[in-house]
């Protein structure tokens, strides 16, 4: 399977890349940030308790 132009997708077409209405990536990265904060809160934040290791 060689890389050919037929495999190229318009996902990254210049019209979209330069568009002012390009809010999709912001949504994605903000959501990633929100999820990372959520997991920090769920798994790492102490919630006022002390885990006894041994």
């Amino acid at each position: 399977m060689m890389d050919t132009e037929e495999h190229k997708t318009p996902t990254q077409n210049p019209e979209y890349r330069d568009s002012e209405k390009r809010w999709g990536p912001k949504l994605f990265w903000v959501m990633l940030l929100v999820i990372l904060v959520f997991f920090w809160w769920l798994l790492i934040y102490s919630h006022g308790i002390e885990t006894k290791h041994g």
Binding site: D3, T9, R22
Partner: protein, 625 residues
């Protein structure tokens, strides 16, 4: 304009959903009042109620049940065996459906950034496997819940009391997971370009977040049973839900399962790709599935490399929590299972490496590196043999007399952890080396500092290998136990240094490199069979280590708090346990074959009877790949 309003509404709805879920979770969990039923509620209430004394509060604490043998329903078949099989099947499929969307999201994102639609198609095809597996996961989950409530009613009553409303959060998350999964899969083509694609990617994020939350929630039940927290010595709940959930083993298990799931998921979808590759009738289809198989193997082995370190952390926490439990696992009745573990991990690494070496035939540039393969194979085999050398042998009295003791005079030294730590770390380093030469085989560096970069890489390998062997031999055999345990950290750091610096160095070294032609599909069929070996070994390994993890509780349902008084309250013989693990492994493989068949069936289309004679035989139903 209309479209933008629609998407903005969608975003706000999603954010609202996340916020609501967060509030619901926090409200449910952090408050210790009405939602969280049982003893903890009573404790919190009395602590703020000045009328009730501390003695009254003590009286309100409800200890863990103490069932007698008669309290366990007898349905004529071993209850433990039923739960064993169903729970393991649920865990296998759960691992698969939680892991696949993780790397699917990464592949989809790669498709967006490279603009190559093949990534997108491959990610979509991976999800097709996950979607069938999801229904099976739910079916086994429901069966498991019924089996547990039927066969272990007192234990389940107790766990319900301890975890309270958290169980309902789990159920709600399950609904959410289903909804997002179906939107993510079925909305793939509807949300393909522009902002819509990013909405789809965000849905993928949400799917993974819900899936991971489901996993860590269920993990808290297992870790509570191993190392209960938030309860007193008789099992009465004295803390809030965070104290119950955040036991010492929770995060080590979370990390270990998270990584292991990715490796396992990668291996299973790799088998699917191998199956399709072998069945392909056209060169194009074979090339596509060869590439898919390579990607799957890459995911499986890359996730597998840091897994032993997560395992070390888990075992260290088990030892810290209870030395007795640690010794039961690694020095007592379950210790021999770690030898079987070594055999299975060795199989995984040998199969993974073999696949990479075979795959080098795809590129002409690989000739430069083929000379290394025999040395890598030699190191892997020697390390594998060291790893499987047992510390103690099962011998007759005559054999012990002939040997002069229960340990072999020469090979006995290889039976203890320092030797095995050296072997494991070297196997990981040399597996990474296989990866590195595979990745380099279709490239020619063009940077001026190529020689210096390669010299630096060789130096890093040499220093790391020397450090691993020195730390293992010197601290393992010539100092006391404290240094012996501490030296394993040095070894882990050495291995990670090689992996991280190798990835970083190659990224710079091959920037703007000349790419040599690569011919996908030009690989031996034997390489595809290696992809079948991987998921079987992974499944067996999960069954084995899952059994060890659960068995360290010995005769306790909840360690030190609620005794198991059922007829199965003993650790079975290794032979019996081995048979059970093999049964679940075979069952899983059969179910996976069913999933592959279903996935294939959805792509087949029967031709109308009047057209059948006009179509070549290879393009009729089942004929086209």
């Amino acid at each position: 304009m209309k479209e933008s309003r629609y998407y903005s509404r969608l975003i706000w709805s999603m954010l609202l959903l996340i916020t609501a879920a967060g509030f619901f979770w926090s409200g449910t969990i952090s408050i210790t009042g009405e939602w969280f039923s049982g003893a903890v509620a009573s404790v919190e209430k009395v602590s703020t109620d000045t009328v009730v004394t501390e003695e009254d509060a003590e009286l309100k604490l409800v200890p863990a049940p103490r069932p007698t043998r008669a309290d366990y329903p007898d349905i004529g078949v071993s209850s433990r065996s039923i739960v064993w099989v169903v729970a393991q099947m649920h865990l296998f499929f759960g691992a698969l459906v939680l892991a696949v969307p993780l790397f699917v999201l990464v592949i989809e994102l790669l498709g967006v950034y490279t603009g190559d639609s093949r990534y997108d198609d491959m990610a979509h095809e991976f999800m097709k496997i996950s979607i069938t597996a999801y229904s099976i996961t739910a079916l086994f989950g429901g069966t498991l819940a019924l089996a547990l409530f039927l066969l272990y009613p007192d234990l389940m009553t107790y766990l319900m009391r301890v975890f309270g409303a958290q169980m309902m959060v789990y159920a709600i998350l399950f609904f959410l997971e289903s909804m997002v999964l179906y939107i993510y899969y079925y909305g793939w083509d509807a949300l393909r370009y522009g902002n819509a694609k990013w909405v789809h990617l965000s849905l993928g994020l949400l799917l993974n977040a819900v899936g991971a939350t489901l996993m860590v929630t269920a993990n808290s039940w297992a870790t509570f049973m191993m190392a209960p927290s938030g309860v007193n010595e008789v099992g009465a709940v004295i803390g809030n839900i965070w104290e119950v959930m955040k036991g010492p083993l929770w995060n080590p298990i979370n990390l270990h399962r998270f990584i292991a799931n990715i490796a396992f998921g990668g291996a299973v979808v790799g088998a699917y790709a191998a199956y399709k590759c072998l069945a392909a009738r056209t060169a194009e289809a074979r090339a596509h599935y060869d590439w898919m198989g390579y990607t799957s193997n890459f995911i499986a082995i890359l996730a597998f490399l840091p897994l032993p370190f997560a395992g070390y952390w888990l075992m260290a926490e088990i030892y810290a929590y209870s030395q007795q439990m640690g010794i039961t696992a690694m020095g007592g009745i379950l210790a021999w299972l770690f030898i079987i573990q070594a055999v299975l991990i060795g199989t995984i690494l040998l199969a993974g490496n073999y696949y990479l070496w075979s795959g080098m035939s795809r590129t002409e540039g690989s000739k430069r590196y083929q000379g290394f393969i025999k040395y890598i194979a030699m190191v892997l085999v020697i390390c594998f043999l060291i790893w499987v050398t047992p510390n103690t042998l099962i011998l007759t009295s005559g054999e012990i007399a002939a040997l002069g003791g229960s340990k072999h005079p020469l090979l006995g030294a290889l039976g203890i952890m320092p030797a095995k730590n050296i072997a494991v770390n070297l196997m990981l380093i040399f597996t990474f080396m296989s990866f590195q030469i595979y990745r380099r085989s279709d490239k020619v560096a063009t940077v001026s500092w190529e020689k210096a970069g390669n010299a630096l890489m060789v130096a890093i390998y040499v220093v790391a290998i020397v450090n691993i062997i020195f730390a293992g031999v010197y601290y393992g055999y010539f100092t006391n136990t404290v240094y012996k345990v501490g030296s394993s950290v040095m070894q882990v750091v050495s291995t990670l240094t090689v992996i991280i610096s190798g990835v970083v160095l190659d990224a710079f070294l091959y920037r703007g490199a000349k790419t040599l032609p690569s011919h996908w599909g030009q690989v031996s069929n034997r390489a595809q069979y290696a992809l079948f070996a991987l998921p079987i070994a992974f499944t067996w390994l999960m069954a084995l280590m899952g059994y060890v993890r659960s068995s360290v509780r010995t005769h306790w349902h909840v360690y030190t708090v609620m005794k198991d008084t059922s007829p199965d309250n003993f650790i079975p013989t290794i032979g019996y346990a081995g048979n059970m693990m093999t049964i679940v492994t075979v069952m899983f493989v059969l179910f996976v074959l069913f999933i592959f068949w279903i996935a294939n069936l959805s792509g087949s289309k029967q031709l109308p009877p009047y057209a059948i004679n006009k179509v070549p035989a290879t393009e009729r139903v089942g004929g086209a790949a």
